[in-house]
Every structure is written in C-alpha cells, then in structure tokens.
C-alpha cells in the first residue's frame, strides 16, 4: 500500500455535519464480543471433527430502543447469530452481554432461574406465519400460551386482559381471537405471530425474515406495524433479512454478514450513502432497479457463495471480490471501527473510498 491517502479519509468520517446517529440511546442492550459459533458436522469416517464456523469473531452492539437490521445471503450466519442472542444455540467462544436497565446477564453463564427470566425478556418472530401457528388452537390460545407457560399471569381474567390488549395493538379484534389460524391471510397470521411474541412484554425481539413470506402489498403493512410497536413499547428489535431495501426503510442501524463474518455495520443512512465493504457495495448494486433504463454500472459479483463448511482462507470474500490482492488471500482483515460508529472488515477499505 502506498501512503498517499491522508488520515482524513473521506467525506463523512469525523465530520460533525453528519448526524446520522440513531435517535435511540447509545447504551447497548446487547453487547457481543469476539463471538464464535461452531457446529460439528458429519461424523463419518472422513468428516469426523469437521466444524462449520457459522459465526466467527463477531463484535456487535445493539443500542436500547434500536431497530437493528442484520443482512446477509444464505450461509452468512445471520440466523445463527440471531439464535445465539436468544440463547437458543450454544456459543463456542466469546461473550454476549444483555443489560436492559433492570437486569444484566452474561448469556454464556445464565443459571436456570435467570434463563427463565431471560426467555421473558427476549422473544422471536418467525418467518413463516403458516408454519408458526398451531392449526388446532384458537388465536386467543396461541397468543396466551407464552403467558401460561411462563406463568406470567395468575388468573384467566388477567391472561385475557393481557391478550386483548396486545391483540388490539396488533389490530386483531375480539372476533379474530375466537377463530382458528386457517381462517386468516398471511398478513393477519403474521400479526398473530407478532402478538404472541410480544404478549409477555419482552425487551428484545428477534424478527427473522418476518416479512419475507408476505406479498408486497401486505409486507409494508406488517413493517409499519413492527415500527409502531417498537416505538410504542420501547422495544429493541433485531430485524434479520436478506432484503436490503426493506432493511433500509425500517432499520436505524444495519450490520452486514458474509460467510459467518460481520463485514460492515453502520447507521442506516451512513451505510447506504457510503458503503465501505466491497461486498456491501455489490449487494446494493445487485438489487434490481425499478427504473427500466437504469442498469447498474457497479461491479456485479462473479462466482458462487462458498460453502460455510469449507470457507476460503484469508478474507472470506476474496474469492468473489473484484479488489482482492495478495494479502486478502492469506490474512483475515480486522473489524475496524471509525468514530462515526461505522465498522468495516476489509484490508483495502481506505483505498477503495476513492473507487466509485
């Protein structure tokens, strides 16, 4: 590398006129440090002892009250990371710290009673509203189940009141509560799933591809509802999605994953105005434009996403990166943070600021 690039690197860095910071507080609800999650695979003669490194070296802070987006393609590890934050998958290395102001937990060291309490505070919204709801239960019972299982309410009257309250917030009426899920459309079912996830009054919700199965005309409705609920209830939301344009519209902070690594994260505006990682740039330019006359000039990625069971050495993206040089093939870049809350994991990001 030559030394021609100054320290004041690009428009935006350390520039006071940029105030993209999220309106939410900067006190993290979740702090992740050097997190690794490895799964053993195989067990056959030749595959014994092999592991899939689903997540490796993840640093992440989710501020309280944030609508935090997590983006990636298949095999990026985004779902694994989301599950780890819910303590639904074992952690191989590193730490996840949860602090909502009332309690403070180190997820790796939760005792039984603490885990029970954490389950109330952290909830999941599933992707497929058709698979997530039991066809044999009424909507009322589906929404009430977490309250009963976790013994949050004491009487049936109390349960009913809580169910009605959250159902109303999710725009479900009393008539809806008496029916079974099959009577509902995809959008309505997703609203039932959301009500169920929120009924125990969690502080943290992971929404894993929560609108991916919905039609476009319905998707916007569910996104707007999530946003309203997040603001009204003071929730912190991790919104996992493969769809950058959805994330751009709803989240105030975005992290991008590729092959188990967090490659870039920044406040949404900053990320979309000035993506720094070549993968983020490629991801943005790959979204088909609505303008028939606009053909993306940006570099289209060649090649396939490598298998997470057999990732390339060095920077995981080097096999598809148009800017890869020797060092990228051998050394994994560090996750660098600049004062504007922008993190990037690329050897050449500073040079590439000048490449459009």
């Amino acid at each position: 590398m030559n030394d021609s690039h100054p320290d004041a690197l690009s428009p935006g860095i350390g520039d006071a006129s940029f105030s993209f910071e999220a309106a939410s507080s900067t006190v993290p609800l979740i702090s992740v440090r050097d997190l690794a999650i490895h799964y053993p695979v195989g067990g056959g003669l030749f595959t014994k002892g092999m592991v899939v490194r689903a997540a490796e070296g993840i640093d992440l802070d989710i501020p309280r009250g944030a609508f935090y987006g997590l983006v990636g393609e298949s095999g990026s590890g985004k779902t694994t990371l989301g599950r780890a934050l819910l303590k639904a998958t074992p952690i191989t290395r590193g730490s996840i710290h949860f602090d909502d102001g009332e309690v403070s937990y180190e997820l790796a060291e939760l005792g039984k009673a603490e885990l029970k309490d954490y389950r109330k505070r952290a909830q999941l919204i599933f992707q497929d509203p058709y698979a997530a709801l039991s066809p044999r239960m009424t909507v009322r019972d589906i929404i009430a189940e977490p309250l009963e299982v976790m013994k949050i309410t004491k009487t049936r009257a109390e349960t009913d009141e809580r169910v009605r309250e959250i159902a109303a917030k999710c725009r479900l009426n009393l008539e809806h509560l008496r029916r079974f899920p099959h009577a509902f459309s995809g959008g309505q079912r997703q609203r039932i799933s959301i009500a169920r996830a929120l009924v125990a009054n969690p502080r943290f919700v992971v929404a894993d591809e929560a609108v991916a199965a919905l039609d476009v005309s319905i998707q916007a409705d569910v996104l707007n509802l999530l946003k309203t609920l997040q603001e009204d209830l003071g929730l912190t939301l991790l919104f996992i999605s493969h769809d950058l344009s959805v994330v751009a519209h709803t989240c105030d902070h975005v992290a991008v994953m590729y092959l188990g690594r967090l490659v870039e994260s920044a406040p949404t505006r900053r990320l979309f105005a000035g993506p720094r990682h070549p993968y983020t740039k490629a991801l943005l330019s790959a979204i088909p434009s609505l303008d028939p006359d606009h053909h993306s000039k940006a570099q289209k990625l060649t090649g396939e996403i490598p298998s997470p069971a057999n990732p390339p050495p060095g920077c995981k993206f080097h096999t598809r990166c148009p800017y890869a040089v020797e060092i990228c093939k051998t050394e994994e870049p560090p996750l660098e943070q600049t004062p504007d809350h922008h993190m990037v994991k690329c050897h050449r990001w500073k040079e590439l600021l000048y490449v459009s």
């Binding site: 393609e73 459309s185 998707q219 916007a220 950058l244 990625l301 598809r320």
Partner: protein
C-alpha cells in the same frame, strides 16, 4: 408477427368447496424475441396462466368454451387447449415450449444425473443420437456459465449450489431450442448477487436465441430489468398491460399504483411504505364487479362492486398499447 396468442383464457378449478375461478378472461400476445412479464401476488393466477400454455394444470381444471391458446409454429398454428393425449402434448411440452421453475431442486430428478436428464429430453424431442445429445448438453452447460461442464454433466442436482442448479435448469430448458420459454419465478429462490447473474444470463440468451419469454414474478424490480411489456394480474384478472416503462413510470390501475407505493425504494429512503389496505380476498370469496374494489382507495359503491371493468386503452398513450381495467380510467369526473 405473433408467436403466441392467448384469447379470453378463463380457467376454473373444481374443488370440494365449489368452483374456484383461477383465471378470468385473460388475453395477450407475445412476439418472437419478446419478454413478457406477468406480475402479481399470491392467488393472482400468474402461474396458472403460464401453466395453461402447456396444459399443465391439474385434472380438475375447467377451461371455458371461449378460451383459446394458439401457438404459431413453422408447420402452422397449434390450438394448445384442443391437444388431448400426452403424445399430442409433446409438441408443446418440452418441444416448442420449455419451462423453468422457481425451485430447480424440485425440477431435476434427484436420482438421475443432470447429464442423463438433458440427453433424455434431447433424444425425445430432437431425435438426436446419444453422442450428439451429450455434446450439445455440455456445450449448453458451458454457455450458461457453468465451470467444468463436463464434470457437472455427470453430477446429481443435489451436488450443485442453488445458483448452479438454476443455470443447469436454464441450460436444459434451452437445449431443445424452444420457441417459447416460460420462467416461473426463476430467480426468487436465489440470493440477490446470484439473481443478478441469472438475470444477465437470461437477457443474453434472449438476444442470442430470439425466443419469446413469459417471465412470471412477484418482484417489480426484476420485471423492470427484464421485460419488454408487462401484465399485472390480481385475483385472476389482468388489470393492467403495457410496455414496461409506461406501466412502471405511469401506472394507470389503482392496484399497480398501490403495488409500486408499497415497495421499499432505495432511492427514496424517507418515503413512507404505503401498504395496499386490506387483505387479498380468499379465492372462495371472490369480490363481485371489479375484483380489486374491496381494497381500492377510489372505488365507488354501486359502480365498482357491480360492473366488471373491461381492459381499455389509455387515451393518453394509445400508441404504446397501454391499457388497464378500471372504471375510473378515462373518466375525468370520477374523483369529482
């Protein structure tokens, strides 16, 4: 010149719960080398329409008397809906028309190598020798950007990645030199960076082979990047049809406008996402009159729930064949 003409296509399914209208009076034409997009949400009838072109719909489908699908081949026109036996249907199925599906894993037989499947259809439809069929298949795999095509030829579908499988599917579909290619959500299951590659590939292939394409998707962005003209469908009705630029830049039907407004746009991050109000009605509760009136922001009681609007050319753009089915169209006093 017309390659395919669909006239008054109406298709109902006979079910235990009664007759369900899947496609209602849909007409369109495709010329060779033209890409026609069909866009719609669940239950819009877009896939059913496409499958009708090869008579691939299940046994309980009932086509109306007026429905006509005509394919122009060198030996003269073929009336697709009059074809009965599997043997007659071979003319269209895999012969003049090929189809690629959303999930390529489901379209390849899991226990037969990709090569064997490609060779089989070439022997059947193009009466090739095994050797010639093999050579052409490997060549097609190379053409769609599959590296080490000779090796892939002997592999099974599960050994390939999603993007590779979709490329192999495209290679297989094109090797019989179809006149018309039906692509049903061909990029929906793919990651966005791989989708971009497949879209580019399909554009190149249309330019090279000059066949007509029916491209079905729910994604207006994909349509904008691939189609020449586009039909928007809702609950089995075609509600708007025209050149892709006109439809996307000047949508005429309230549903098309609603779809576009509901779409997150990276260019305008501050614009609110505006959902189309209400839910897509169940096919068993098909609205009367205009099928969209239950969700339409400008619907008029006594009009839209009674009258079925016909496809009408837009006065402003008659030259470009842009039409829509809405009573408010060309009525300056509607908003009155």
């Amino acid at each position: 010149m017309t390659l395919l003409s669909v006239e008054n296509l109406t298709l109902e399914f006979d079910t235990d719960e009664g007759r369900i209208t899947a496609v209602d009076d849909v007409s369109f034409e495709i010329a060779p080398g033209e890409v026609m997009g069909i866009v719609g949400e669940s239950g819009s009838g877009k896939s059913v329409t496409a499958k009708s072109l090869m008579k691939l719909n299940p046994g309980n489908s009932v086509y109306s008397q007026r429905s006509r699908i005509t394919l122009m081949l060198e030996d003269g026109p073929v009336d697709v809906l009059s074809l009965k036996s599997a043997r007659e249907l071979q003319v269209v199925r895999g012969g003049a028309i090929s189809m690629i599906f959303q999930e390529p894993m489901a379209s390849f037989a899991p226990a037969i190598t990709i090569g064997d499947q490609m060779v089989e259809q070439l022997q059947l439809h193009r009466k090739m020798t095994k050797k010639a069929a093999r050579d052409l298949s490997v060549e097609m795999l190379e053409r769609v950007g599959i590296s080490e095509a000779g090796k892939r030829f002997d592999q099974y579908a599960f050994e390939l990645s999603g993007g590779m499988r979709q490329r192999a599917m495209i290679a297989m579909a094109l090797s019989t030199s179809p006149k018309l290619l039906i692509a049903d959500e061909p990029t929906t299951a793919l990651d966005v960076t791989i989708q971009a590659q497949v879209i580019d590939l399909m554009k190149d292939l249309v330019a090279e082979y000059g066949m007509g394409i029916v491209f079905i998707t729910h994604d207006l962005g994909v349509i904008a990047q691939t189609a020449d003209h586009v039909a928007v469908m809702y609950l089995g009705r075609m509600v708007e049809h025209g050149p892709v630029r006109d439809v996307i830049n000047h949508p005429a039907h309230p549903y098309t406008r609603g779809l576009l407004a509901a779409l997150p746009d990276l260019e305008h991050l501050d614009a609110p996402l505006t959902p189309v109000p209400g839910d897509i009605p169940s096919p068993l509760e098909r609205p009367s009159g205009c099928v969209f009136h239950t969700r339409c922001p400008i619907a008029k009681r006594g009009r839209c729930d009674v009258e079925v609007p016909a496809m009408t050319a837009l006065e402003a753009t008659i030259a470009s064949n842009h039409s829509a089915a809405c009573l408010a169209l060309n009525d300056p006093h509607w908003m009155g």
